[in-house]
């Protein structure tokens, strides 16, 4: 149909949507703490050390939570 302008607009919408989805995914991963593992692996790679297993890493985080009291308000 020769709708170059329309295609462009469609592309722009797709790009915007993709960015929005990526943004929400980033937020949820950060908020839930899921991305902490990636950050840890990246930090190990930068330092040249080998990371512990994911299971050990999460156990460590559970242990930290066990000994801290995070209040929840009314």
């Amino acid at each position: 149909m020769g709708g170059g302008a329309l295609d462009d607009r469609g592309d722009a919408v797709v790009t915007a949507l993709r960015r929005a989805v990526a943004g929400v995914r980033w937020y949820l991963r950060e908020f839930s703490g899921e991305s902490r593992w990636d950050a840890y692996v990246a930090a190990c790679a930068a330092d040249g050390t080998s990371p512990m297993s994911r299971r050990e890493f999460e156990r460590h985080r559970d242990h930290l939570r066990e000994h801290s009291a995070q209040g929840r308000c009314c």
Binding site: F57, D62, H67, G71, C73, C74
Partner: protein, 726 residues
């Protein structure tokens, strides 16, 4: 050089014409909404006027007042490193993205409180509650949260109690420690009471809420053993199971479970106390952490859904702007006149002292840059206020006849549709027994005397969602709302019991160090048992009270929460004067003065009023006189109930008086420091010395163009220095 790349604190530039136009528009919209609310009488008023009055007011307050406090009063300085930057340890101190921290802070401060108070306050009409929630948050609640967060951040995240001890004195500090513990117990008891009232005689509710325990346990084991760290996947599964549990609740009668799951309040109390104890001694990964994920995601999801639902449904307010109960003080939901009792009934959402415990301690250790204190402290509280406004609207769209039939104690309504209809007529409202039965049938629950706020909110929400989304799902939405409220509360009860246990272990640990070891089982179990026994007893007091537990205990809860706010604001004023900021002391001083007037008037009336409906001791005396004369009084139906009323009223009165006295001790101790500080001009404080910050991060929700450029430049510089190093 990578230091001091942050801009100087004041970057005031002339506002652009576009920005001026936008803010004039916001102001005009806000003023128009307020005018409609103030002037409409005897006509149909859309609930959206309240919603937009609130949003416009919040926007203006955030843009102008919060910014003024940040720049001129606290002089937030991004050149100073925050404790998160200086003491980063990957555990409690950690530089956190501002938007993520905003989410965590909001999830920690907002629970069932802002959903319950406004519903009860609706007995005085929609206008008083709306004004207090909005004005209160702007000048008191959000200010308290932001200023406490700031002071704690400048002291490496010290807790409220620690700061009071170090900045005011040992006497004040000790009083604060006791007050915080006691107030927390009351809050847990009243929140549990809301759950018990919502679940009593409701097999559907018991089924759905009961299933949240195995669901959370399943999530816990799944995360621990099957898929470590996959929180989103696990939470997704949990939410689906949760929705199935709500739908399944509709079939309990069909499955023949109806009778087994129809529990009375006493049984529910025992179950809840047992649950609270077990939950607080289990490893947190098993129950507490997964439940927290569920509750947090549900919280945010439902709030968004409610905002969308309100706009789509555009409901009309059924309540009067101001009902006669505001001036007569004889409303059936809670006794007392608008001043002071409206202001203590709505605590969370306008001014909540409990937030000071979150704003000191946890959140300040995670703030990346000083200027973010405005967004997290002030912004987070505005968001909670928005939740309170939504709850107020949900309560005010319900027919007032139904509202009073649901929220009056059973002693008044008699517990069935015909007698409830008669009672409502004596209040000056009308609803037929048929209309009451039809409302109950629409959500498949009994609705007479379902006090505590949760059922009323759930009914309002079901009405709004049913209009907004269609499909005739009112019963589903009702139980959905009950479920999410109960979920918040149970999370608060678990976490609160643990916090109480840590506080108790810490305190006793000062004299018996072994007891302070949080991994020593006997101490952990013993302290948990004490905490659970304390709130469990108060819960039992509420549940068995013939006068209606909510009616009797909610004022105690509201006053306790606001007294905690008085303690926090007293600390803020003290620190203002010690820093020599006499010029700005009105910023925390005005809310403190207001809060003291409200809480002390309310406390005085609850203790000394000779009206038995208000004064706890007058209630006990009148009941005792009647008992001795061999008569029954008020809602009591036998002599045992008379004794219960005497015992409960005396307990409540003693607690009430103790709280008020503790606060007076703290304020008196602080006044000595105020006088000293004003005479000296300023006094040394425990603020940690400034260390230059090396990190760059934007201050607000949306980064400005300059901030983005700064951030990009800093990241480029960091990657080149990292490149040359390795």
């Amino acid at each position: 050089m990578s230091t001091s790349t942050a801009a100087p604190p004041s970057r005031s530039s002339r506002p652009s014409p576009a920005s001026i136009a936008v803010w004039v528009l916001v102001a005009v919209v806000g003023a128009a909404c307020w005018t409609v609310l103030a002037l409409s009488r005897d006509e149909e008023v859309s609930a959206l006027w309240i919603l937009f009055a609130a949003l416009a007011s919040y926007a203006i307050a955030y843009r102008f007042y919060a910014r003024f406090i940040g720049r001129k009063v606290l002089k937030l300085d991004d050149r100073r490193a925050t404790p998160a930057e200086r003491l980063e340890n990957g555990a409690d101190f950690e530089v956190t993205d501002r938007r993520v921290l905003f989410g965590h802070h909001f999830a920690a401060i907002a629970g069932a409180g802002p959903l319950v108070g406004p519903v009860l306050a609706a007995q005085m009409g929609y206008l008083p509650g709306t004004i207090w929630i909005i004005v209160g948050v702007i000048f008191a609640g959000a200010v308290q949260d932001m200023v406490v967060l700031f002071f704690s951040m400048r002291r490496d995240g010290k807790s409220l109690g620690q700061m009071i001890r170090e900045e005011i004195g040992v006497v004040g500090g000790t009083a604060a420690l006791i007050a915080v513990f006691a107030i927390m117990i009351i809050i847990l008891a009243v929140l549990s009471l809301v759950v018990v009232n919502a679940l009593a005689e409701s097999p559907w509710g018991v089924f759905s809420i009961g299933l949240t325990i195995p669901i959370a346990l399943f999530m816990g084991f799944y995360l621990r053993y099957l898929r470590p760290g996959r929180v989103l996947e696990t939470t997704g599964i949990g939410v689906v199971l949760l929705l199935l549990a709500i739908i399944g609740g509709g079939y309990v009668e069909t499955w023949g479970l109806g009778e087994a799951l129809t529990l009375d309040k006493e049984t529910l109390t025992l179950l809840l106390v047992g649950y609270g104890f077990v939950a607080s001694i289990l490893p947190v990964w098993m129950l507490l952490t997964p439940r927290d994920y569920l509750s947090t995601f549900m919280k945010v999801g439902v709030i968004i859904l409610l905002a969308v639902g309100l706009v789509l449904a555009n409901p009309v307010l059924s309540t009067d702007a101001v009902t006669p109960f505001a001036s007569s003080g004889e409303g059936p939901v809670f006794a007392g006149k608008l001043f002071p009792f409206l202001f203590i009934t709505i605590a969370c959402g306008a001014l909540s002292g409990f937030h000071a415990l979150i704003s000191s301690g946890t959140t300040p250790k995670l703030v990346a840059k000083e200027r973010q204190v405005k967004m997290i402290g002030y912004g987070g509280m505005l968001m909670e206020s928005f939740v309170a406004i939504s709850a107020l609207i949900a309560a005010c769209v319900i027919d007032p006849g139904l509202y009073f039939a649901m929220n009056s104690p059973v002693g008044a309504t008699g517990g069935d549709a015909a007698s409830a209809s008669e009672f409502v007529a004596t209040l000056g409202f009308s609803i037929t027994p048929d209309a009451l039965n039809a409302a109950a049938a629409s959500v498949e629950e009994e609705l007479i005397s379902r006090t505590g706020g949760a059922p009323t909110l759930a009914f309002g929400i079901s009405q709004i969602f049913d209009t907004a989304f269609g499909g005739g799902l009112a019963a589903f939405w009702y139980h959905f709302a009950i479920m999410f409220e109960a979920l918040f509360i149970l999370t608060a009860v678990d976490a609160g019991t643990r916090v109480g246990r840590f506080m108790l272990q810490d305190t006793i640990g000062n004299v018996w160090p072994k007891f302070g070891d949080t991994s020593w089982k006997p101490a952990a179990w013993g302290a948990s048992a004490v905490v659970v026994a304390c709130w469990g007893y108060m819960l039992y007091v509420g549940v068995t009270d013939p006068l209606g537990g909510i009616n009797q205990l909610f004022p105690l809860f509201g006053i306790a929460n606001q007294l905690l706010a008085a303690i926090a604001l007293t600390l803020c004023v003290t620190l203002f004067l010690k820093h020599g900021w006499l010029k700005w002391v009105w910023v925390p001083g005005i809310p403190l003065a207001w809060d003291l007037v409200v809480t002390m008037t309310a406390s005085y009336q609850k203790v000394f009023s000779d009206n038995p409906a208000i004064g706890y001791f007058a209630q006990a005396d009148a009941t005792r006189t009647a008992r001795d004369a061999g008569e029954l009084r008020g809602a009591a139906t036998n002599a045992d109930q008379m004794d219960v009323i005497i015992r409960n009223s005396t307990t409540n009165g003693v607690l009430q008086a103790t709280f008020a006295l503790l606060v007076i001790v703290i304020v008196a101790n602080a006044v000595l420091i105020w006088v000293k500080a004003v005479r000296a001009g300023s006094l040394p404080t425990t603020e940690v010395p400034a260390v230059p910050s090396e990190i760059v991060a934007p201050a607000d929700f949306v980064a400005t163009k300059e901030e983005k450029a700064e951030l990009a430049a800093w990241e480029a510089e960091r990657s080149t220095t990292a490149g040359t190093r390795s």
